[in-house]
C-alpha cells in the first residue's frame, strides 16, 4: 500500500534526483544525514540512487518518519561500464551486468518500467576516461523506456559549467530523432555536503523542480513522464521559469495535441538576465528580463504530420542557468516525426560583463579527484 503523500498541494516541488547514501559503498552519509542536508537546502524530495542496490529501502520508512518534510524517493543508479542511469522510484533489484548471463539493457529497462520507475540517463557527456568508468552514455537510447536525461551534470560551479551545455546538446540531438526526454539535474552528492572537494556538488546543485499534484513518489513519477520539469543548474537560488499553454489542448504526457498553441513563460528571480526561447533545438528569440516577475508569450505551430518542440532558458551572462523541459506540439496523436532545424553554432552575449572562467579550470580541477 503506497505511503500517504507528505503534502497534498499541487505545486512545484524542488528536489535532487541523484544522491548517494552509505549503501553505495563509495559514499558516506546515512539517510538521516541526507534528509537533514536536503532540508537545509530547502529541498522537498531527494532520490536515493545508490549504485546497483536498493538496500536503502530497509531504512526509508524509519528515516521518513524522522524527517517528514523531505520525501525520500527509492531509486537506483543502474551503473554499467557503458553508462549510468537512474531508475526514479525503483525499489527492486535489477541485474546490471550487461552482456553476461543474457542480461540486456532492454530487459533491465523493462523491469524498471514494470516497477513504474522512470529511467534517466545520467551525466551523458561526462567522458573522463579511466577516471570515471562508464560515466558517459554509450548505450543505445530506447524510446519509451528511457524517459529523462540529466542536463545538469553536477552543480554549475563545480562541473556543470563544463558539461551542461554538451548534455543539453545531447538531449536536443535525441529530441531531433523523436526521443522525448524530460530534462532533469542531479548533484551526484556522495557526502551529504560534507567535506566536498572542488569537483563535487552538494545536494541541490543542480535543483530539479517537478510540478506534481502532491508530494509523493507516484505524483513525482507522473510529473517526470509528463515533462513537467525545470532544472536550476546552479542551485536553489537560481531564477525560475515555467511554461504555461494559454490554449486549452489535449495533452498526452509531454505533448499537446494541436497545430498551434500560445505559450506563456513566467520568470521569477531573473531580473537583469535574459529569457531565451529554444524552438526545435535552435534559439528563436531572446528577451531581456527587466521585471520580477517577468512574462513573455510565444506561439508555436506544428506542420501537418510533424511534431515540434519548445522550451525556455534563463541565461546568465550568456550561459544557460535555468532550463525547462520540452513542450511538444503535434497535430496528431501519436505525433509524427519531429521538425529538425539546421543548427548554427550558438553565439553568446556580447559584453556580458563578468568573466566566466570556471569551465576552463574545471578540467584542471577534475584531475584532482572525482567519484561517481
Amino acid at each position: 500500500m503506497p505511503a500517504p503523500p507528505l503534502e497534498a498541494t499541487a505545486r512545484w516541488y524542488a528536489g535532487d534526483l541523484h544522491v548517494h547514501t552509505l549503501e553505495s559503498g563509495d559514499a558516506r552519509p546515512s539517510l538521516d544525514e541526507v534528509a537533514s542536508f536536503a532540508a537545509s537546502r530547502r529541498l522537498d524530495f531527494v532520490a536515493l540512487s545508490d549504485h546497483n542496490t536498493s538496500s536503502h529501502d530497509d531504512f526509508i520508512v524509519g528515516a521518513q518518519a524522522r524527517h517528514p518534510r523531505v520525501l525520500l524517493v527509492p531509486s537506483v543508479e543502474f551503473t554499467t561500464y557503458q553508462g549510468h542511469l537512474n531508475a526514479f522510484g525503483a525499489s527492486q533489484f535489477v541485474p546490471f551486468w550487461l552482456g553476461r548471463d543474457g542480461v540486456t539493457l532492454g530487459q533491465a529497462l523493462q523491469r524498471f518500467d514494470q516497477q513504474d520507475a522512470v529511467a534517466t540517463i545520467n551525466h551523458p557527456t561526462l567522458d573522463l576516461g579511466r577516471f570515471c568508468i562508464g560515466c558517459a552514455w554509450q548505450l543505445p537510447v530506447v524510446p519509451g523506456l528511457v524517459r529523462a536525461i540529466e542536463v545538469g551534470v553536477g552543480g554549475w560551479d563545480e562541473t556543470g559549467a563544463l558539461f551542461d551545455e554538451s548534455a543539453i546538446a545531447f538531449w536536443e540531438a535525441l529530441a531531433d530523432q523523436g526521443v522525448h526526454l524530460t530534462a532533469v539535474g542531479g548533484s551526484d552528492d556522495h557526502r551529504a555536503g560534507v567535506g566536498l572537494n572542488q569537483t563535487q556538488s552538494p545536494m541541490g546543485s543542480p535543483t530539479t523542480l517537478l510540478y506534481a499534484s502532491e508530494l509523493s513518489v507516484t505524483a513525482l513519477t507522473r510529473a517526470l513522464r509528463e515533462g513537467r520539469a525545470v532544472v536550476k543548474l546552479r542551485g536553489p537560488d537560481d531564477p525560475f521559469v515555467s511554461l504555461t499553454p494559454l490554449d486549452v489542448l489535449p495533452r498526452v504526457q509531454d505533448t499537446l495535441v494541436g497545430s498551434q498553441v500560445r505559450v506563456l513563460a513566467t520568470v521569477t528571480g531573473g531580473k537583469g538576465h535574459r529569457l531565451a526561447w529554444i524552438e526545435n533545438g535552435v534559439t528563436a528569440a531572446e528577451r531581456a528580463i527587466d521585471t520580477d516577475a517577468f512574462t513573455d508569450e510565444r506561439s508555436l505551430e506544428a506542420p501537418a504530420g510533424r511534431s515540434v518542440r519548445l522550451r525556455a532558458e534563463v541565461r546568465v551572462e550568456g550561459a544557460p542557468r535555468t532550463v525547462t523541459s520540452h513542450l511538444w506540439l503535434a497535430p496528431d496523436s501519436p505525433p509524427g516525426p519531429p521538425v529538425v532545424v539546421d543548427k548554427a553554432a550558438p553565439r553568446g552575449c556580447p559584453g556580458c560583463g563578468s568573466a566566466e572562467l570556471a569551465p576552463l579550470f574545471a578540467i584542471v580541477a577534475l584531475a584532482r579527484r572525482r567519484r561517481r
Binding site: P140, P143, A355, E356, L360
Partner: protein, 656 residues
C-alpha cells in the same frame, strides 16, 4: 677583469654562465640569488621575499612578459643566447614599474654584436635552438632572430603516446631613427601538451605572442614611446573515448606608454610617464559527443559550441619621479597612480609613493634602503594570462615594502652583502590552482572575496659573499632566512575530520623559507675545461596545505568508528624535513678559428635527493571483515617532489 666581475651588485646575478644547475641559461641564475626560492626543487618560477612568483614582474628589454615561462613552470620563453644575466630590483623599485607587489626581475639583454654577424646553434637534451645577431650592412639595422624547439619532450612523449610540443621564437630589430632608436621586439611561445592525469585524458595548449614597438631617444633627457600588442590564449580539453570538450580562453591586449626623463641639472633627473592598456577576453567552448543511433539509425557526433566575448578590461597609470644616480649619495623619490576598470566590476585605483636611497662610504661601503607602497590585483601563484585579467574584479592587494642593504668590499676579490627586508601585506588575495577550493574561487561573489581576503607579513635577511681570486676561479656563498605568514580564515577540524567552526589566525605560508645555505663555485682549467658545483641546503616548507601537503593527525571516523587521518589545523602545522641539492657541471670549449664549440654536461640534483613535500597518509590494506570490525591501521610515509632523480642536461653549442 676580476674587479669588473665582482663589481656588480649581488642583487644582479653576476653568476657566471657556466654555473652548475643553470643549464647554461642565465635566466636560471636567479635561483642562486640569496633569498630566492624555486617553486619545486630547482624548477619553476622564482619566489622572492616570501611572496608568490606572480608578485614579481619579469621584464626583458623593457617589455613585461605576460607568461614568462613555458607551461607556467618551465624554462624561460626567452632563449639563453639573448640573455646576459638577471637583475632583481630592490623592494620599492622604480615608480616606472608597478601593478605587482614584489621585486621585479629583469632579464638583461645580451650585448649587441656590433657590425659582426654572430650565430649560435645549440643542441641539448632538452631543446634545439638557433639564433643569429648582426647588423645589416649599410642600414645600421641591428637584427636578432632566434627559434627554439624542445625536442626531448616531443621525442619522449611520442614513446609514451602522449604529446609535448614546446617552442618559442624571438625577433628584435633596432634601427636608428631621428635622434633615437626605433626598436621592434617580437616574442612568442607555444606549448601543446596532451597526457593523462589521474586517468583523465587531458590536453592543454598555451600560447603567448607579443609585439612591442618602441622609440627611444637619449638626446636632451630620455623620451620613450611604446606600443605593445599581446595575443594570449590558454586552452584545456578533455579527450574522452567518445566525447571531447574544449575550453579556450583568449586575451587580446593593446598597451601604450610614454615616458620623458629630462635632466634638471646637478645630476638630478625627472621622470614623467603614463601608460594604458586595454584587454579583451573571449571564452570559446566546443564539445563533440558520440551518440548511438536510435531505432536503427547510424550513430553520430553531437556538437555544441559557444563563443562569448566577456568584455574589455582597462588599466592606466601615471608616474612622476625625481632621481639622482650620480655621486656618492644616490636617491630617487616618486609617486605612481594606477586605475583599473575590470570586466563587470567597479573602477578602483591606487597610489604608490616610493623612496630609494644609497650612500657610498669611501670605496668599501655602500648602504642602501628603499621603501614604499605597492599594489597588485588578485594573483594566481604564477602569471596566468586571461585569468589574471579576469581576476581584476576581485580587487587589489596592498603591501608596504622596505629593505636595507649594506655592501662591503674589503678587497678587489671579495664582496660581502647583507640585506634585511620586510613586507607588510595589508590586503592579500593570493589564490592558487593547488588549493582545494580552487574551482569556486574562479567566480567569487563579493562575500566570497571578503572571506578569502587575508593579511600578513614576510620578512627576512641574507648574508652573501662573492669571491673571485682570479679569472679562473669564482665562488658565491650565502645564507638567507625568509619567514612568510598570512592571517586567513579557515576551518578547524575535529577528531572526526568534520569542521567544528571557522577561525582566523596566522598560518605559515607556502613561500616561507626558513633557512637556506647556498654555495656555488667554479674553476676554469686550461685547454678550455671548466668545472662547477652548486650546493643548496634548505629547511622544509610549512605543511599548511596549498602548494605543499597538509599535516594530518590520527582521528576517528564518526560513522564507522575506525581510525582515520584528519587535518591538523593550518595554524598548528609543522614543517617538511630539510633537504640538500647538489648540482654539478663540466664543460669543454674548443676554438677552431672564429668558431667556439662548447660541450657541457650540467647535472641537476646530482645528490639524488628529492625535495620533501610532506607526508603521504593512508591506511593499510584490510579485508572486508577487518573493515567491518574497525580493524584499520593508519600508515604514513614521507612524500617528496617527483623530480628526485638527477637531471642531466647534455648539450653542445656552436657560437660564432
Amino acid at each position: 677583469m676580476t674587479a669588473l666581475l665582482v663589481a656588480a651588485l649581488l642583487a644582479q646575478s653576476d653568476v657566471p654562465p657556466d654555473a652548475a644547475g643553470t643549464w647554461a641559461d642565465p635566466s636560471r641564475s636567479v635561483f642562486l640569488l640569496p633569498g630566492s626560492r624555486s617553486l619545486s626543487s630547482g624548477f619553476g618560477p622564482v619566489s622572492l621575499d616570501g611572496l608568490q612568483p606572480a608578485a614579481s614582474a619579469v621584464t626583458f628589454d623593457g617589455l613585461t612578459l605576460r607568461s614568462p615561462a613555458h607551461g607556467f613552470f618551465g624554462p624561460s620563453i626567452v632563449q639563453p643566447g639573448f640573455v646576459e644575466g638577471v637583475r632583481v630590483g630592490d623592494a620599492a623599485g622604480s615608480v616606472e614599474t608597478g601593478r605587482t607587489l614584489g621585486r621585479s626581475v629583469t632579464l638583461l639583454p645580451a650585448a649587441s654584436t656590433g657590425d659582426e654577424w654572430r650565430g649560435r646553434l645549440r643542441l641539448d637534451v632538452l631543446a634545439l635552438s638557433a639564433s643569429g645577431s648582426g647588423r645589416v650592412p649599410g642600414l645600421k639595422t641591428q637584427v636578432d632572430v632566434g627559434a627554439r624547439f624542445f625536442g626531448l619532450p616531443a621525442l619522449a612523449a611520442s614513446f609514451l603516446r602522449v604529446r609535448a610540443l614546446l617552442g618559442d621564437w624571438h625577433l628584435r630589430v633596432a634601427q636608428p631613427l631621428g635622434s633615437g632608436e626605433l626598436r621592434v621586439l617580437g616574442l612568442g611561445a607555444v606549448d601543446d601538451v596532451a597526457l593523462t592525469v589521474s586517468g583523465i585524458p587531458l590536453a592543454a595548449r598555451l600560447s603567448t605572442q607579443t609585439a612591442d614597438v618602441r622609440w627611444r631617444s637619449d638626446a636632451a633627457g630620455t623620451i620613450e614611446l611604446g606600443l605593445t600588442g599581446n595575443l594570449d590564449s590558454i586552452a584545456l580539453a578533455i579527450r574522452g573515448e567518445q566525447t571531447r570538450h574544449d575550453v579556450i580562453g583568449g586575451e587580446q591586449a593593446v598597451s601604450a606608454r610614454l615616458a620623458v626623463r629630462p635632466s634638471l641639472g646637478g645630476g638630478v633627473r625627472l621622470g614623467l610617464g603614463a601608460d594604458g592598456t586595454a584587454r579583451r577576453l573571449v571564452l570559446d567552448r566546443v564539445s563533440d559527443s558520440g551518440l548511438a543511433g536510435v531505432g536503427g539509425t547510424p550513430g553520430r557526433f553531437v556538437t555544441a559550441s559557444s563563443s562569448r566575448a566577456l568584455g574589455v578590461a582597462l588599466a592606466g597609470g601615471l608616474f612622476v619621479e625625481a632621481r639622482d644616480d650620480e655621486g656618492p649619495f644616490r636617491w630617487s623619490v616618486g609617486l605612481r597612480g594606477d586605475v583599473w576598470k575590470p570586466i563587470g566590476g567597479e573602477t578602483f585605483g591606487s597610489l604608490e609613493p616610493r623612496l630609494s636611497l644609497a650612500r657610498d662610504f669611501g670605496d668599501r661601503w655602500t648602504v642602501s634602503a628603499s621603501g614604499g607602497l605597492r599594489h597588485q590585483p588578485a594573483s594566481w601563484l604564477v602569471p596566468v594570462p586571461v585569468l589574471d585579467t579576469a581576476s581584476w574584479r576581485f580587487g587589489l592587494q596592498q603591501a608596504v615594502v622596505g629593505d636595507v642593504q649594506a655592501t662591503y668590499r674589503p678587497a678587489a676579490e671579495h664582496r660581502f652583502e647583507t640585506r634585511f627586508f620586510g613586507t607588510s601585506l595589508r590586503r592579500s588575495l593570493e589564490l592558487s590552482p593547488f588549493d582545494d577550493t580552487f574551482l569556486p574561487q574562479v567566480n567569487l561573489s563579493p562575500q566570497d572575496v571578503e572571506r578569502r581576503l587575508g593579511d600578513g607579513w614576510a620578512a627576512g635577511a641574507s648574508l652573501a659573499w662573492a669571491f673571485q681570486p682570479s679569472a679562473q676561479a669564482w665562488l658565491r656563498a650565502s645564507y638567507s632566512f625568509v619567514t612568510s605568514w598570512r592571517t586567513i580564515t579557515f576551518s578547524r577540524v575535529g577528531s572526526d575530520g568534520l569542521p567544528t567552526g571557522e577561525a582566523r589566525a596566522s598560518v605559515p605560508w607556502s613561500f616561507d623559507l626558513a633557512h637556506v645555505l647556498q654555495a656555488s663555485g667554479g674553476w676554469r682549467f686550461g685547454a678550455g675545461w671548466a668545472l662547477a658545483a652548486s650546493i643548496a641546503l634548505q629547511s622544509g616548507a610549512p605543511l599548511a596545505g596549498g602548494l605543499w601537503g597538509q599535516e594530518q593527525r590520527p582521528g576517528v571516523d564518526s560513522l564507522r568508528g575506525t581510525p582515520r587521518w584528519v587535518p591538523v589545523d593550518r595554524d598548528l602545522v609543522g614543517r617538511a624535513s630539510p633537504w640538500l641539492r647538489v648540482d654539478l657541471r663540466a664543460s669543454k670549449t674548443w676554438r677552431p678559428g672564429a668558431l667556439e664549440v662548447e660541450l657541457f654536461l650540467d647535472v641537476q640534483n646530482a645528490s639524488v635527493w628529492a625535495q620533501p613535500t610532506g607526508t603521504s597518509y593512508g591506511t593499510a590494506p584490510a579485508s572486508l571483515e577487518q573493515q567491518a570490525r574497525g580493524d584499520v591501521t593508519l600508515t604514513s610515509r614521507p612524500a617528496s617532489a617527483p623530480l628526485g632523480f638527477p637531471i642531466p642536461v647534455l648539450g653542445v653549442e656552436l657560437r660564432r
